[in-house]
Symmetry: C2
Subunit: 455 residues, 2 copies
């Protein structure tokens, strides 16, 4: 599972980048109803990257490649409720800590340390209290914290072998979950039943969901987290579901398939456009290429496809320039993947955007989460889509702006295509790409074949 040498290498690489002592907190599971009924614990990703294990209520201090662990031993009474828990010394050994101290010692070792604010508000308060200062990822952030964030980003942008092994483990489980989802659809009456089949498999493999699953016949609702619709013949079902390993590494996969096992001719036409965009984008990935170019390439393929279908009118390049494609493909082509499904998004755009770049105010670019030249060792998603979002199509502002670019009558024929997305996880390699999600079919006929066999 964890390789101490790899962890030590990460710590040493950080020391090579930043010559300041660093303290990272793991966080604490938030209460749900009451303290004993809490959400499952999820350690801070920055902590996980250097500590390796999800240890609750812990902190690590990194300096010169050394790691000091701060955590309290389990309370003796807790063995009754939780069984024998590993002690501080056990954990220190497992993660290759150089020293290990009770938590109360930490306050004596925080002079001049840099940190990153954790997500859980309780621990965030503790961080502020012990460091006596404000913590933020914003511009007003303390200079050393900003330095630390940039150093961590430099490391986490590309993945080492231990990380890739974990990501691939997560992906393998997600791939199987998607196969199960596709095959289970024939015998499912609701979105919830397909979700259950997919998440059930993830749970059975002792993993968790890397994010709240999307399993919906309303794929046009991009972040739909309800599952109460019935499945009806003629619907497309969009499933964006990904597993996370015990050590916290994520996967992120989307497939869209027809509830009745057959794409209608309109659904198939649009599906093939989305898939073409997907394939062309992946083909183009290599070290050095700007991810924004990949996004614009995907957008162009979609625009071309929609022109060919008669949904958009005019020259694809011109349509692209005025963001007409974004009426139907309003989000970015993908994002970084790692310990977080949108890796390091807790740092805002610091990780996703190359220094000096900021979000575009263009409708077709503003939602792009990654705007950097790609590097060997990065893992990114490629996830083009087509959606008929009422909030866009019924918006007078868009209707007016794109009145002549859309063939609104033709569009009506495609009313059974509310949302399609195809998403795979891609490793940038020295020579090009490795598709990590390769065992999961994405061609329309393969999906239909898989559904047929499951009858």
């Amino acid at each position: 599972m964890i390789n101490i040498q790899s962890l030590k290498t990460r710590r040493q690489k950080l020391a090579n980048l930043i010559n300041i002592p660093i303290v990272l907190w793991s966080g604490k599971s938030p209460s749900k109803n009451f303290r004993a009924n809490h959400y499952p614990f999820r350690a801070s990703s920055h902590f996980l990257y250097f500590a390796g294990l999800p240890i609750e209520n812990a902190a690590i201090r990194l300096e010169n490649g050394n790691l000091d662990l701060f955590m309290d031993n389990p309370h003796p009474d807790s063995t009754l409720w939780h069984g024998e828990m590993p002690t501080r010394e056990d954990i220190a050994l497992q993660i290759g800590a150089d020293n290990a101290y009770p938590m109360e010692v930490l306050k004596d070792k925080i002079d001049g340390v840099a940190t990153v604010p954790v997500q859980d508000t309780f621990t965030y308060q503790k961080q502020r209290e012990i460091l006596h200062r404000f913590l933020s990822i914003n511009e007003e952030v303390k200079e050393i914290d900003h330095q630390l964030m940039k150093a961590i980003i430099a490391l986490r942008l590309t993945h080492d072998e231990m990380a890739l092994t974990e990501i691939k483990k997560a992906i393998d489980v997600s791939v199987e979950a998607h196969k199960i989802g596709i095959k289970s659809t024939k015998n499912s009456a609701t979105e919830a039943e397909v979700r259950a089949a997919m998440e059930g498999y993830i749970i059975s493999q002792n993993m968790t969901c890397a994010y709240n699953s999307i399993v919906t016949v309303n794929g046009e609702i991009l972040h739909n987290e309800t599952y109460n619709n019935e499945l009806k013949s003629g619907d497309l079902l969009l499933a964006d579901v990904g597993a996370e390993t015990v050590l916290g590494w994520a996967s992120d996969i989307t497939r869209t398939w027809p509830v009745n096992g057959h794409f209608s001719s309109c659904q198939r036409d649009i599906y093939d456009i989305v898939l073409a965009a997907h394939d062309v984008c992946i083909e183009k990935i290599k070290p050095g290429i700007e991810y924004r170019e990949i996004h614009l390439l995907g957008a162009k393929i979609i625009a071309e496809g929609l022109v060919n279908l008669g949904i958009l009118k005019g020259n694809p390049e011109t349509l692209l320039e005025k963001d007409a494609h974004a009426i139907f493909f309003p989000h970015g082509i993908g994002h970084l993947l790692g310990l977080d499904v949108h890796d390091m998004e807790d740092l805002g755009d610091l990780a996703g955007y190359k220094e000096g770049r900021t979000r575009s105010d263009r409708f077709g670019l503003g939602y792009l989460r990654l705007d950097r030249p790609l590097k060997s060792g990065m893992v990114v998603t490629i996830e083009p889509g087509f959606y008929q979002v009422p909030a866009i199509l019924n918006n007078p502002k868009f209707q007016e702006k794109y009145y002549d670019d859309v063939n609104w009558e033709t569009l009506k024929q495609f009313s059974d295509v509310r949302g399609i997305r195809i998403e795979d996880d891609i490793l940038v390699t020295a020579t090009g790409t490795e598709i990590l999600t390769t065992n999961l079919p994405n061609k329309a006929e393969e999906i239909e074949e898989m559904m047929k066999r499951s009858r």
Copy 2:
């Protein structure tokens, strides 16, 4: 789903108990990795009780039976990501609010209001900021907050029809989940696979888990939340799994069954003792009886049973007085059930313990979560158990204290009985009890029969 008249009745009853304006916050889903990757939202139970719907980032002000809703309308951009969201006016109508305001109005309406601190730290800070005071459930709490807590407890201790309908819905799904768990065991290799079958069913019914499931062959670890053990013939599998409805009402069920479908003779002997305690306790439940008496009755049945098996030595009454039963049954016989699985445990023991009573320091009573006379309309769990907890059995303090009470040699013969618990949910009625979890077998031979049929 929700019945506005029932909600209005709850609000009026609260007004009859307390003549102070009240503000209750719903809370906010905590961040997991980053703000967009959050835990599923779970509204504060006190808010849910009077508002009826889990509305995120909302507050209600209650006075004289009237309810004012405070929430902001969804941001126009959010329709792109989340589809059409109900507006403040939609929600106000659904929950029968008398007035509805944007959140910023709340600060003008907080003079002299009482409140209850919410669980999520972010909203808790907001509460403190807007009220300009410290919030706590402890003795140093503000007097009006304490009055409010007592009034809410007086209401929530017993359940109205709307509540019971929801609890029964949750129970029905949990019952089916347990049946599926029992039947799936034959084809499962790990705890995780049985957990997946059970939680998968809950997910398929569009419900959530009311608490982190326990599905373990190490039933002696009372709050075991890991699922990585393989199932081995001869093991008992303990599953404590309960569903929660969309409106937040909980269920709580435990069954213990043999992995290979047959209780060994030792397992059966102990199982029958636990079941006898379970049955006798439920039989005894009626309005007016002290729950502590039920607990002690259960403990006595267990002590008697263990004496009959030769595991304990001596007079059961005497053993009970010196808490010798608690070596094997260290927790309480059960707790309140409602919107929370341990209902109102966010208020510490204010709800569980009758005014003026506090936790016993007796080993066999200190973990009792409920010490009140029962009333018609309460829902409680009855969950006796038998465990061989290493932290107890290997503790020299206990070994010495109970040296002569335990037949340590005989105990060794029962090494395949590490943990057994049988838990059902019971409604106290005017005439006695209604077992709400009645459709789920709990007799050893019924469980064996169910497993045989599932082969």
